[in-house]
C-alpha cells in the first residue's frame, strides 16, 4: 500500500509479508542517514500472558523484556554492536511499557545493516553464563536510574496512580527481579513475542521502498514462520480510582520536584478514538496551563515554576494518564495555585485556533529528524494510529469538546502526587 500526503509531501509505503511481519518505508530523498527500526509489540508490562498455541499461563520476573533487549546483542562469536561498528553504523535498542525497539542509523552500507538488524533480532543466543554476566551491567543501569530525580518522580507517580497495572513498575525491573531471570524464561518470552506476526519494520532514508520490502521479504523467506494469532496478555483488573494520594522521596536535588497525575480510565482505546482523545486532551491542557495561558504566567511570576514546567498526556489501549510536572520552590503553594487556577479555568476560542496551528507545526517537525520520525511512527503503529491521518479530526475539535473533556478528566479523586524533596528539607 502506498499513500502520499500532498501537503507535507511525504509518502508511506507499507506491506504485510506472509509471516505476518509488517514493513513500512518513508522514502526521504536527500537524507544522508538511513534509519531503520525492528520492533516487537512486547514491553515491560507483558510479564504475564498466555501462550498463543496452548493457552498456558506464563508468569516471568519483571524487567525481563528489557533484559531480553540487552541479551539479543550477544552472539556466539561476539557482540553484534561490532558488526554495525565495522560498517560505521550505530545501533541501539530501547524498551518501553508497550514495545521493544531495535534500530540502526547509518550513512553507508544500508543494505548490509538491514540484514544484520533482521538477523540479530531473530537469532537469540542465551547461556547461563552470558545471562549471569549481564546482571552486573543491568544492575548498574538500574542504579543509574535510581539517581535520576526526574526518573524517580515519574516512577513514584505511576505507583501512586496504579493499583495493579504493571505500568506502575520500573521498565528495567528491580535489582531483585532481574537476579531471578533464567535463560529458559528468556527463550520462552522470545519465542512468544518475537514472532514476526507480533513485529514490524520501519525504515526512513534515501531508499527505494520496493527494494527495502523485497530485502526484508527475502530474509523472512529463509525462516520458517507460520502466522501466529495475537498473544493474550493478562492484566489485573485496574480500578478507576488511584492507588495512593501522594508519594514523596528525598534525594540530593537543589529544588523540590512536583508531579501531579490524573488517571484516565480506559478500556481498549485504540485507533481514531485514541487519536481524538489525545488531541482533545493535549489542546485542553495547552489552553488551561500551556505557556501562553494566564495560569502559566501567574505561576511563573510567582516564582513557583520555571519554563520547563508542562503538562503531558500519555494514552495507550490499557492505561492513560496526564502529568503536570516541574521543579518548584514550594510544592504546596504550587499545588494550591494550580487547583485554584484549574477551578476557574476559562477556555478561549482564539487560543484554541492558535493551538491547532501549533499542533500542525509540531506534527510537521516530526519529519525533520529521522530518529524522531521512526519513534513517532512506532508509537502510532502500536496504538493503531495512522501517521498521515493523525490530525484528521483536529479542525473539528470545538471548545465544547474541550470543556467536556476537562470535566471528565480533571477530577480530584483521580489525582495523585509525586514529590522529590531535597535532603535535609524540613517538612
Amino acid at each position: 500500500m502506498r499513500e502520499t500526503d500532498a501537503l507535507i509531501q511525504e509518502t508511506l509505503v507499507t506491506e504485510e509479508l506472509p509471516s505476518g511481519l509488517r514493513v513500512s518505508v518513508i522514502p526521504r530523498p536527500g537524507q544522508r542517514r538511513t534509519y531503520a527500526t525492528f520492533a516487537t509489540y512486547y514491553g515491560s508490562i507483558d510479564s504475564h500472558f498466555r501462550l498463543p498455541d496452548s493457552g498456558h499461563t506464563v508468569d516471568v520476573p519483571d524487567g525481563i523484556a528489557h533484559f531480553l533487549e540487552h541479551k539479543l546483542f550477544e552472539k556466539p562469536d561476539g557482540d553484534v554492536m561490532s558488526d554495525f561498528s565495522r560498517l560505521g553504523a550505530s545501533t541501539n535498542a530501547y524498551t518501553e511499557y508497550l514495545t521493544t525497539t531495535y534500530l540502526f542509523s547509518t550513512t553507508q552500507h544500508q543494505d548490509q545493516c538491514l540484514q544484520i538488524l533482521l538477523d540479530f533480532v531473530q537469532e537469540p543466543y542465551f547461556t547461563a553464563e552470558n545471562v549471569e554476566k549481564e546482571k552486573g551491567i543491568i544492575e548498574q543501569e538500574i542504579r543509574m536510574y535510581l539517581d535520576m530525580p526526574g526518573d524517580r518522580l515519574h516512577s513514584n507517580l505511576m505507583r501512586a496512580l496504579y493499583v495493579g497495572h504493571p505500568v506502575r513498575l520500573d521498565i528495567a525491573g528491580s535489582v531483585d527481579t532481574i537476579r531471578q531471570i533464567t535463560p529458559e524464561e528468556l527463550y520462552q518470552c522470545y519465542r512468544t513475542f518475537y514472532h514476526p506476526s507480533n513485529m514490524w519494520v520501519f525504515v526512513d532514508g534515501d531508499v527505494d521502498p520496493d527494494r527495502v520490502i523485497a530485502a526484508v521479504s527475502d530474509n523472512q523467506a529463509r525462516r520458517d514462520y507460520k502466522r501466529q494469532p495475537p498473544i493474550p496478555r493478562i492484566l489485573p483488573e485496574e480500578p478507576a480510582a488511584i492507588n495512593q494520594e501522594r508519594i514523596a522521596q528525598r534525594m540530593p536535588v537543589a529544588l523540590p520536584m512536583l508531579a501531579i497525575g490524573y488517571k484516565d480510565p480506559v478500556a481498549d482505546l485504540r485507533g481514531p478514538a485514541l487519536a481524538r482523545r489525545e488531541l482533545v486532551t493535549d489542546l485542553m491542557w495547552s489552553l488551561a496551563i500551556g505557556r501562553s495561558s494566564p495560569l502559566f504566567f501567574e505561576l511563573y511570576e510567582a516564582g513557583l515554576i520555571n519554563d520547563r514546567f508542562g503538562a503531558q498526556y500519555e494514552a495507550a489501549p490499557t492505561y492513560a494518564y496526564s502529568v503536570l510536572s516541574g521543579e518548584t520552590r514550594d510544592p504546596d503553594a504550587l499545588l494550591e495555585r494550580i487547583e485554584r487556577g484549574l477551578h476557574n479555568v476559562h477556555f478561549d476560542e482564539e487560543a484554541l485556533e492558535r493551538h491547532k496551528r501549533r499542533n500542525r507545526g509540531q506534527y510537521l517537525a516530526l519529519f525533520n529528524n529521522p530518529g524522531q520520525l521512526a519513534y513517532a511512527y512506532n508509537s502510532f503503529h502500536v496504538r493503531r494510529l495512522e501517521l498521515f491521518h493523525y490530525l484528521d479530526e483536529l479542525d473539528g475539535i470545538t471548545l465544547d469538546a474541550i470543556e467536556e473533556r476537562f470535566h471528565q478528566h480533571v477530577r480530584a479523586d483521580r489525582r495523585a502526587l509525586s514529590l522529590i524533596e531535597p535532603e535535609g528539607a524540613e517538612r
Partner: protein, 426 residues
C-alpha cells in the same frame, strides 16, 4: 555548504537546502567568559526572552510563537572555550508545508530582531524590576539545580577542579554569589553596552534564499561599533599530576571522571589524530573503555571518552559501584597505557574511522549539528569542515595516534560517591 560573509562585526551564514520541513535560525552575541560577569550576561539572555516592545509580556510572546505554527524559541547562554555566548534559537515550520503556504521566515526574523534589539524596557530604560527579580530567581535555581543530573554534575565539578580559577572553568551561568549582587540597572546597561562590543553571528538553515536573507539580516541587525577580533582559547595544560578529588552526596552510583590534557586543538594539524585516539579509546561501543569496563568486567553501564576541541581537554567518564573505584580506575589506566604503547588493532582503527565518517555525514541531516560545527569553526578562527575532517581522518595512521598519545596526560581524577564510600588513600 554555508555561504555568507562577515562584515562590520556581523557574520551571516546560510545553508540553503530543501531537505528540512523547518527553517532554523541561530543568532548569538559572543562575549568573553569572565567569572565576575558571567551571571550578569546570563541574566541579560533570560530577561530578553520576557518581552519586546511589540510583544511586551511572556504570554503575548508565547501566543505569537503559537501563531507561528508552534515555532520553538530559546534564549540561553552557552560556553565555548573562553567565550560566553548569548544565544537565540528559533525553529519555524516551513510555510511550504502548511495550509495556505504562509511566509514564516520573514516573521521569524522579525521576532528575533524584536527579542534581541527591542526589549520591553521601562521609561527609564531598564528591564522591569519584577522581570529582573523573577529571572534572577529562575537563574539562581538553574545554577543550584545542576546537581540534579549526577553525570553532568560530576563532569562540571571535574572541569572546575582542573581549571583552578582559569577562565575556561567559569560555569556558563556564572556563580550564585555574583548573581545576588547584581543591581537592577546593571542588566539593561550590560545589554546595551554588550551590543556595542560583542560580535554577532547569525546562521540560517533551510529553504532560504541566501542573498535575500543576508540583506534582510543586515537591514535588521546593526553590528557592534568596535568588536574585538575573536581569539582562540588558551590550550589546556595539566598541572595537577593526577590528584584525586572526591565529593560525597547521597547517590546510588559512583561517577568516576578523569580529566586529561592532550595538547591538541581543533585548528591543529594533529586534531584528526586526536579524534581517532578518542574514538579508539572511548567514543563507541567497540572502543576500549566500553569493551573493557562494561563488556568484559561488567563494572559499568556507560564508559566513554570525549574531547573538548576548543581547549584540547579530554574527559573520561563511567558510572560504577562505589567499591569498584580501584578496579575501574586500573582498567581505565591500562587502556591509556595500551594507547600510549600502540596496542591498537587494525580493526579498532578501521571501526573508529567508519563510525566517525558516519557521524560526520549524518550532520547533514540535522540543522542544529550543521549550525554547531559552523559556529565552532567561526569562533575558533578556523578548523576543518566536516568534509575536510572526514578526509583527514582517513589519512590518520596508528603511528599518528601513538604520537598524540604521548602527549595525553591525566591531570585530575574525580569521584562522586556516597557518604562514607571514599576510596582508600583519598
Amino acid at each position: 555548504m554555508f555561504v555568507g560573509s562577515a562584515q562590520d562585526g556581523v557574520s551571516v551564514y546560510v545553508y540553503p537546502t530543501d531537505r528540512f520541513k523547518t527553517i532554523s535560525l541561530y543568532a548569538c552575541w559572543v562575549g568573553e567568559l569572565d567569572a565576575a560577569s558571567a551571571s550578569l550576561t546570563a541574566l541579560v539572555a533570560y530577561c530578553l526572552r520576557r518581552g519586546t516592545r511589540q510583544w511586551p509580556t511572556f504570554t503575548t510572546m508565547q501566543a505569537h510563537l503559537e501563531e507561528l505554527y508552534g515555532a520553538s524559541f530559546r534564549a540561553d547562554v552557552g560556553k565555548l572555550g573562553e567565550h560566553q555566548l548569548l544565544s537565540f534559537r528559533l525553529e519555524i515550520p516551513d510555510g511550504r508545508y502548511l495550509p495556505g503556504h504562509p511566509d514564516t521566515l520573514g516573521a521569524g526574523l522579525d521576532f528575533l530582531q524584536a527579542v534581541m534589539q527591542e526589549p520591553n524596557l521601562t521609561a527609564a530604560g531598564h528591564f522591569p524590576d519584577d522581570v529582573i527579580a523573577q529571572e534572577k530567581d529562575i537563574l539562581r535555581r538553574q545554577i543550584e539545580g545542576l546537581i540534579n543530573d549526577k553525570a553532568q554534575y560530576a563532569m562540571l565539578r571535574c572541569i572546575e577542579a582542573m581549571a583552578d580559577g582559569a577562565r575556561f572553568g567559569v560555569p556558563r551561568y556564572g556563580r550564585v554569589e555574583d548573581l545576588t549582587a547584581i543591581d537592577e540597572q546593571a542588566v539593561a546597561a550590560r545589554w546595551s553596552e554588550g551590543r556595542k562590543r560583542w560580535p554577532l553571528l547569525l546562521f540560517g538553515v533551510g529553504a532560504i534564499d541566501a542573498a535575500g536573507f543576508e540583506a534582510a539580516v543586515r537591514e535588521r541587525f546593526q553590528g557592534p561599533q568596535s568588536a574585538a577580533p575573536l581569539r582562540p582559547p588558551t590550550l589546556f595544560a595539566a598541572t595537577h599530576d593526577g590528584r584525586l578529588v572526591v565529593d560525597e552526596e547521597d547517590v546510588r552510583q559512583g561517577k568516576l571522571h578523569l580529566g586529561l590534557a592532550t595538547g591538541v586543538r581543533l585548528q591543529d594539524a594533529d586534531y584528526s589524530a586526536l579524534m581517532m585516539y578518542t574514538g579508539v579509546l572511548g567514543g563507541f561501543p567497540h572502543s576500549k573503555l566500553f569493551v573493557n569496563v562494561r563488556e568484559k568486567a561488567s563494572l559499568a553501564y556507560y564508559a566513554y571518552a570525549r574531547v573538548d576541541a576548543a581547549l584540547g581537554l579530554m574527559m573520561i567518564g563511567a558510572g560504577i559501584e562505589f567499591s569498584d573505584f580501584r578496579p575501574a580506575l586500573d582498567i581505565i589506566r591500562r587502556q591509556l597505557d595500551d594507547m600510549r604503547e600502540g596496542r591498537i588493532s587494525e580493526e579498532e582503527m578501521a571501526f573508529t574511522l567508519e563510525s566517525f565518517t558516519n557521524e560526520l555525514k549524518a550532520e547533514d541531516d540535522s540543522p542544529s549539528a550543521l549550525i554547531g560545527r559552523e559556529l565552532e569553526r567561526r569562533l575558533l578562527g578556523g578548523g576543518p569542515t566536516s568534509d575536510e575532517l572526514e578526509a583527514s581522518l582517513a589519512r590518520v595512521t596508528r603511528d599518528d595516534v601513538v604520537r598524540v598519545a604521548g602527549h595525553v596526560n591525566v591531570d585530575l581524577i574525580y569521584f562522586l560517591t556516597a557518604h562514607g564510600e571514599v576510596p582508600a588513600g583519598a
